[in-house]
Symmetry: C2
Subunit: 244 residues, 2 copies
DNA sequence: CGATCGATTGATCAACGTCAATTTCAGTGG
DNA sequence: CCACTGAAATTGACGTTGATCAATCGATCG
């Protein structure tokens, strides 16, 4: 599985439609870590650029964790499948985000391309060797581990103790922080409703209804399925925090 | 907050009742990490032993993360409180478990004593300095971070996509792995039903009913509230994995 | 233009939460 | 030793939320 698309095919697909997600380049969204300061420069010369088409598998949970990746363009979901097909998405990876670095031995989650995607792939054995030589890189990777843990723990509280409306509002706030906020607070969502549902631990219908409620309340606008206008960030934040 | 009990008082309390949890010493349960091999020995001389009484707070989410801890006896819960009092427990810490090591800057979760507890406390600044000197210790702490992430991700899937029965069965299997399995597969649960509920993202009543169902099915026995007999580990494991 | 896929909406149902006893049990005082 | 107390656990009745099932809508693709 996960045969790569030829780059030309990728380009032509991405040219279709008006989906707002840049597949190849585009302005890099805000990073989750505060300042990149390029502690990753030791990796510069050992990466291979690859492309994956929409819904292609990058790696599967349980595979030997041989490679680590950086997203250059597009969006990736990090998810776990249960035997009967239930799915939980742990994270969405955006341009600049690293994944596959913190897995130990085998991948704990699968990685799948949400849109067409461009990644840089590193051999983990090389990354580890470089980490021993460059303290900056090692620190950066430890930082990444901290960040992942923090993200997972926030997610945990959301799934365990937040209502549907709170989860939806939290999700939109997260996306607003991670993506460029275009003029008027418009965010571009690369993922479909099912992906949002699998991230929030809900069904697709419940996600639709939650979005509908926020729209009817005037908190958000929904110009199309892949864009959301944040009309009232204060109110959205209030809902996310559990007020009301 | 979190005034410590005098040791003599702790001892006298622990002597009361037949609750099976050793407060001071007792055989160390299975560790989560495969082999301790004592990469922690650099910490041997910098720790202070402290005790906390049942329900005392060890630290609060948001506090400056000045100290790190190791559980010597008793059990600790790692939890987050929402503004309106909802609570999510991220983890239970048992003798031998470390906590407060992976928090960055401030504690992300509060730590509270479930039973009377004995811990060793380390100054994080010292731990970090020692980590720079001893590669073994640094590796061990990075390993700990990996382990925490893995635990959080498993928990994530549980909260997002497992049914009540599956969560309950998974929880019991986890406890069986982490605690000594006494003769006949009896496990001692240091925490009460409300703690289990807050760990599983449920209410206390739902936890009771789930335990009742497993009992009626003959999968487990409940000699008293703090002990569970695993009559049929196969069946329990099957339920945990989502079969049926 | 029809086919297909994803999103949305509506009707209904079941699971889980809420509220309200009741039971159990550890600890207390007579 | 035994009744009393209070906290925790359990059980039952009922309500709400979110899941399920079933159309329908809308956009993209061939």
């Amino acid at each position: 599985m996960a045969a790569n698309l030829a780059r030309s095919e990728l380009m032509s697909r991405s040219a279709l439609g008006r989906q707002a997600w840049p597949v190849i380049a585009g302005g890099a969204p805000l990073r989750r870590e505060p300042a990149p300061r390029d502690e990753l420069h030791p990796l510069q010369n050992i990466g291979t650029t690859l492309t994956f088409g929409r819904n292609e598998t990058i790696f599967v949970q349980g595979d030997e964790a041989k490679y680590a990746y950086k997203v250059v363009g597009g969006a990736v979901r990090h998810c776990k499948l249960l035997a009967d097909g239930r799915r939980q998405i742990a994270d969405f990876l955006m341009p600049g985000d690293l994944f596959g670095f913190v897995d130990f031995g085998t991948y704990a989650f699968s990685a799948e391309a949400i849109t067409n995607v461009v990644v840089v792939r590193y051999l983990r054995s090389q990354v580890e060797r470089l980490g021993d030589e460059h303290n900056g890189l090692r620190r950066k990777l430890t930082m990444l581990l901290h960040e992942r843990l923090s993200v997972a723990q926030t997610h945990l509280v959301m799934l365990g103790r937040q209502t549907v409306k709170e989860r939806m509002a939290s999700f939109l706030m997260q996306m607003a922080e991670r993506c460029d906020l275009a003029d008027g607070g418009r965010i571009d969502l690369p993922m479909g409703r099912q992906d949002i549902a699998d991230y929030l631990g809900l069904t697709i219908e419940t996600v639709c209804r939650a979005i509908g409620e926020l729209k009817r309340a005037g908190t958000i606008g929904v110009p199309n399925t892949h864009q959301i206008d944040l009309h009232d960030i204060e109110a959205l934040s209030a809902v996310a925090e559990g007020e009301i």
